[in-house]
Symmetry: none
Subunit: 243 residues, 4 copies
């Protein structure tokens, strides 16, 4: 009597559902923008209860592969911003400090600038110009230029057309934002200084001058560090957990 018994592996129904749909999305048999059948329909197709379907869909939504638009359930790409905020939260929890973030940003932002100078389109230049105009208004009004800087840098990053780069700098950008917001009030000059940098960067990009753009970005990052020193901020301090 030789019993050759295999180990059982039992996947719960909701995981079978989510795995099946994920496979179809990744494999391309469900394309971005496709509308899924109703939950009831899916329930009857899979032969399980609607709750089970919902449990599976929940997972895919959180992965960003599905998105709800009104009542419709659309196949979608995970949004860079969703991933960024998740990562940002994780980093804050791990008590990442300003210096760590700054170090990474110092590597990525010049790369962004350099690549953007090579890849940027006219449309993207126009977007940057509009952003610059808004920044001028903000600075003229004496308001905090932090949000404006973030917007500008995000646009530059977009202009690289490098998804991996955008994804990598996403959370770093958010955290730099937080750090900058902490010191900006103590630096009355930060607004005009920022504005000048943005103008130089836009010029460099217009001229497709990658080396110049990169140098400006590098200087911009140095400004941050100098700002911290001037403001008396210890870069070893962790960025506080938000929320």
């Amino acid at each position: 009597m030789a019993l050759d018994i295999e180990k059982l592996q039992l996947a719960p129904a909701y995981r079978v559902v989510s795995d099946d749909l994920r496979r179809r999305i990744v494999a391309g048999s469900l394309e971005q923008g496709d509308i899924l059948p109703t939950e009831t329909e899916l329930a009857s197709r899979f032969g399980v209860h609607r709750s089970t379907i919902r449990e599976g869909l929940r997972q895919l939504e959180q992965e960003g592969l599905l998105r709800r638009d009104g009542k419709k359930l659309l196949v979608s790409m995970p949004r860079q911003s969703d991933l960024a905020s998740t990562a940002e939260r994780a980093l804050r929890l791990r008590q990442v400090n300003f210096r760590d973030v700054w170090e990474v940003a110092s590597a990525l932002e010049p790369l962004c600038a350099s690549l953007a100078a090579r890849q940027i389109t006219a449309d993207e230049l126009a977007l940057l110009e509009r952003s610059l105009a808004r920044t001028e208004a903000v600075v003229a009004a004496g308001e905090s230029p932090v949000a404006a800087d973030i917007e500008f840098l995000d646009l530059v990053a977009s202009a690289t057309h490098n998804q991996a780069l955008r994804l990598a700098r996403g959370p770093v950008s958010l955290l730099m934002h937080a750090g900058y917001a902490a010191i900006a009030p103590a630096l009355p000059q930060s607004g005009p200084r920022l504005l000048a940098v943005h103008r130089q960067m836009l010029d460099a990009l217009r001229q497709r001058d990658a080396a110049l753009a990169e140098a400006i970005a590098r200087r911009h990052m140095q400004d941050y560090r100098r700002g911290c020193e001037v403001a008396g901020l210890d870069m070893s301090l962790p960025i506080p957990p938000c929320t």
Copy 2:
């Protein structure tokens, strides 16, 4: 009779639960490794149904703040590897190409090397030595050195003690891995070459020579690009969606 009725809390009960627990975790009153009470216990403490508790816990699990070990529910930090694999999947779906990934890696890996040279501990050096020994065995056996390279670089990244950097390079590392695996079979010299780089890097780190380590990392990244050329791989090709 004047009824002063409070505005209804529109936050669903499960969100109250998850927010409360998240606050305790973030505030440190629940520490990493702590075991939560049973769901039943939580349900009675919060005065809600167990299903509600479960819904709240689910949210925290997906945030990575809770982790199940067997039946136990422990407080935990989000794992870098989880975030990395999610991000990796997203990038593959967006059909990121080898060049994009390589560009980012070329910025981050030298930074890793440089910082690691300054921050690495004796223990971490020992880990790298063991990794190198394994790589030697793998290369001697003529097996693929891809996994060994990944392991080595991950250890270097850990030695920076920079969470932001580790998180940013996580998905990039996974994708480089995939790209390297695609070309390695066509490059019989890649094993010995890799081994030499690892040895040089370990030496540089031992000597705390940041500039040298950075230079080696830069050269390592150049090797990748040259490998692609030799293997005839078009770096504009998207990395295929896995799984």
Copy 3:
């Protein structure tokens, strides 16, 4: 977007276990008398908890495919007697009456006798002789001959080598037993009368005289009915639920 989704079929682990083992038994890869591994061993082989194994084994035990002998778990055939007692209980619950049982017995016992006369072996004849001897002792002692009659008739039924017949008459025999036991005390002659019938039957079987054996069985059944009349028993009364 054509979604061709298969219905999920999720078998619980304990059913996978029982189905797997049942298949092996029915297919013959586990033979009657084989000893199964311990529950703990099975649990580790299947990769599930012992409780899950027990749940699966329970099913097979109740089907009669497994039997416990001390600590050992043996592969076995379902026993006719188990099925009979289950059926007997069901019939009592449904308040089956003496007449119903008698009617069925009147059809089956003569058939038993007839077939036994054709199929009986020497060994079986010997068993019947020993049974007859015990009956003589019982009757001589003035004890109740009910059990003796049951034993004799069961032996005759066995001698038909017809499993379907044995199974069909099983519960009927048990209930006749109960009915007979109710009236026997009121019939002092029943012992000797029974003994005479057994002797005649044994003779008929020895001579392989199917017609005679059948006639004797028929008469035997008539004796039961007459006994009821003599004892003043209303055959429409239900046989009481036992236990």
Copy 4:
């Protein structure tokens, strides 16, 4: 000091539960169709864990005294069909052959017919008429009349109002069905022939002619045997173990 110690209660808790409930059912304090409290409720009433309750309930379910309808647990009688299928499986495992089954059926079906002729009600006659009409349609369509024959004979058996008889013939009927299904395709005349027998039987029952009904049933059984001969089926072959 005299210690009078009672024998320990060796009955396990789950058995106390099942015995208690069985007693209530058999005694009638729980009637057929009554709904039991939830398992949780029973657990708290008996003061044991839910698993223990479940163990007890399982026993009663397998005895057929309880039945689940959706989530409800109702008191019920054991179903003849459950017992029949268990017995059928046992017989197949024991490799019962066609002849054995046929022999028993030859004794029981005529008895059914005879008793039914005496006991049948107007309602039951109407059911038989409807069954006959369906059979006519099936035969006219050239489909297999096997299921129709089973239905008709089961209705006749029901009309005897003899539970013992119905229970005894249950598994035999199932196995005859299997045997008939095996040969029916080879007998193009079997449909019309069957239809004629059903019509005659219905007439005999309408006229309450027990002797005629019995004779028709006897002939019907002979038809089966002849069918086997015509189809070239060896009646000594075992009916194969199903599933």
